[in-house]
Symmetry: C2
Subunit: 352 residues, 2 copies
């Protein structure tokens, strides 16, 4: 039994040892596995977080890409519609007119009618090097192809042509407002608002041309100028409809100046003479006479006097060289120039 007891004791001790070893190793393994599990869980949480934020980022990039691509498609479609079948030509003006006519009102309806109507064509130096003007001074006259930039419908016509309603017929002043097809007239309101006029070439300078007899309003963008060639441009046998024939329908009887005008002009002239196209107040006065020699009032002005109770006392305005010239016209078509002043606001007088 002692041996058995010893054997038992040995067995117990071995078992206890084994138990301890097993328990310890199990505890260590468990600890390791649990630790590893915790690490893995940590890593999973990190990964899940990364994945979440990356997915979010990817979605945001996708939204950005889709948005940018949509905008690009739109931009391309727009520029494509502008270039549709190569049928739209982007025209860059070669220069701008500085004219004695500050506003449309008072600007002659034809060239060469007002010989003192002066203008200066200032060239864009990037498009017009001085050498390109060599020889132009040898011609007496030149054509000017320009843009009717003051047309109220011009922005729409060029930016959104589909929304722009073109008038097929226009009212003709010579016909007392009767309508004619726009291509039978020189009306500025035409599908392609390009103007054509002729002017006298007075002097060529480095980056400008001085002109006279113009019917161009200040600020007009010029697309091209060409020499006037009598052998191709002057057609003796050309005929026009009766209603177009030159007549004196619009000529006035006389133009005279009030004392008020004569005292005002001296002080006004001092304010503008430095930048004027004219050399003296007298020359400027001659310009006024020439401009007013034709009834320059619009159809509506002639037909609808603002104050019907006393039509004779209506005061009309004309802006020349930036000065507001006021005048009256009586029933015998005699004009009295009343006053001249620096306008408070050009816009205010432009339409009156």
């Amino acid at each position: 039994m002692a041996i058995a007891g010893h054997t038992n004791n040995y067995t117990t001790a071995a078992l206890a040892f084994t138990l301890a070893v097993v328990s310890a190793s199990a505890a260590v393994s468990l600890y390791r596995w649990r630790r590893r599990g915790e690490d893995l869980e940590c890593r999973i949480k990190e990964l899940e977080k990364s994945l979440g934020s990356t997915m979010e980022k990817s979605a945001s990039e996708r939204r950005g890409r889709v948005k940018a691509q949509q905008a690009l498609r739109e931009a391309l479609a727009q520029s494509e519609s502008q270039d549709l079948h190569n049928t739209i030509y982007p025209m860059r003006p070669i220069g701008t007119i500085r004219s004695c006519f500050s506003t449309r009102n008072g600007t002659p309806r034809q060239p060469l009618l007002v010989s003192l109507a002066r203008a200066c064509l200032n060239f864009d130096p990037a498009l017009v090097p001085p050498a390109s003007l060599e020889g132009l001074g040898e011609y007496s006259h030149c054509w000017i192809i320009y843009v009717f930039h003051l047309n109220t419908d011009i922005e729409k016509l060029w930016r959104k042509p589909s929304q722009s309603k073109l008038k097929a017929k226009v009212r003709v002043p010579r016909l007392n407002g009767e309508r004619k097809g726009v291509f039978a007239t020189r009306s500025p309101h035409r599908p392609c608002p390009i103007g054509l006029t002729v002017a006298k070439v007075e002097e060529i300078q480095k980056d400008k041309v001085l002109l006279s007899g113009v019917d161009l309003v200040d600020g007009t963008p010029v697309l091209d100028i060409k020499p006037y060639l009598p052998y191709s441009d002057s057609i003796q046998e050309a005929t026009v409809p009766d209603w177009v024939k030159e007549d004196c329908l619009l000529a006035v009887a006389s133009v005279s100046f009030s004392d008020t005008f004569c005292s005002s002009i001296t002080s006004c002239w001092k304010l503008i003479e430095k930048n004027s196209l004219y050399s003296s107040a007298d020359e400027f006065k001659s310009l006024i006479t020439q401009v007013l020699s034709w009834d320059i009032r619009s159809m509506s002005q002639r037909n609808k006097p603002q104050d019907t109770s006393d039509a004779d006392s209506i005061v009309y305005h004309l802006v020349l060289e930036g000065l507001d010239v006021s005048y009256m016209i009586d029933n015998e078509r005699k004009i009295l120039v009343q006053d001249v002043s620096l306008p408070n606001n050009l816009e205010d007088v432009a339409g009156t």
Copy 2:
């Protein structure tokens, strides 16, 4: 001892049991933890894979967004530079010329020189309703403002103006190639490639105008037409430099036709008469005579005969109404029209 032996036995059994339990539970726990670890590892692998592909996707979306935004910026910058300071006007032609002159070569250098030079202006119905032409037929002549669309530099000039090199001076045929400022000429190679010409108004139809005396090449885009007004457009006193004065420098002595031509024209005419601007082969022959009455060869053709060994035998080509007309010119400026045929390739004869 028996008790102790029993106690020992109990202890051993308890220990063995505990060991078995501990071992089993450790094995189970270990199995579970190992299994969990494996699951977690699997999940991590999945997550890592997802993260990898999502990051790749995000990077690709980012590349797409950046690319689209760059393209958008470029497109916007381009359309902005086109609208720079509102100084570029998008011009849409009102119609296109169908002319008897198939190519630039042979097209007269001035209007009205060749009275049989016919053309038809076909209007864009979206821009030109028939009513807009009402009254145009009462005028004998009209101005045509058009685009020099065959200029070889036109695409560059309009698409990339900054890269387009404008020539300030051009060689003038009348001056045997001497150079003059481009604005002292009617050269098509000008900063704004707009042409101005006059034509006789023959007939107004619903959506077209028949014209004669034109110097316009087939396919010319037309921006505007305006009635010719003698009281403003015909300037009697206009003067030009000596070198421009009308002269007979370019007139030829005579134009005659070979037997080959006379037999060819009958069969050729049948091919074109249906769509021709002319009513008979004889009328077409008169057109050829009129066109060739002026030496239409270019400066380089006149100065550099292709075959210097026998300058008299050089054959020149002219394309009218789509037919290739070949001719020779001798030292006495007498022209012999040799043959007429349907060209194999318009391009081939256009430049010769």
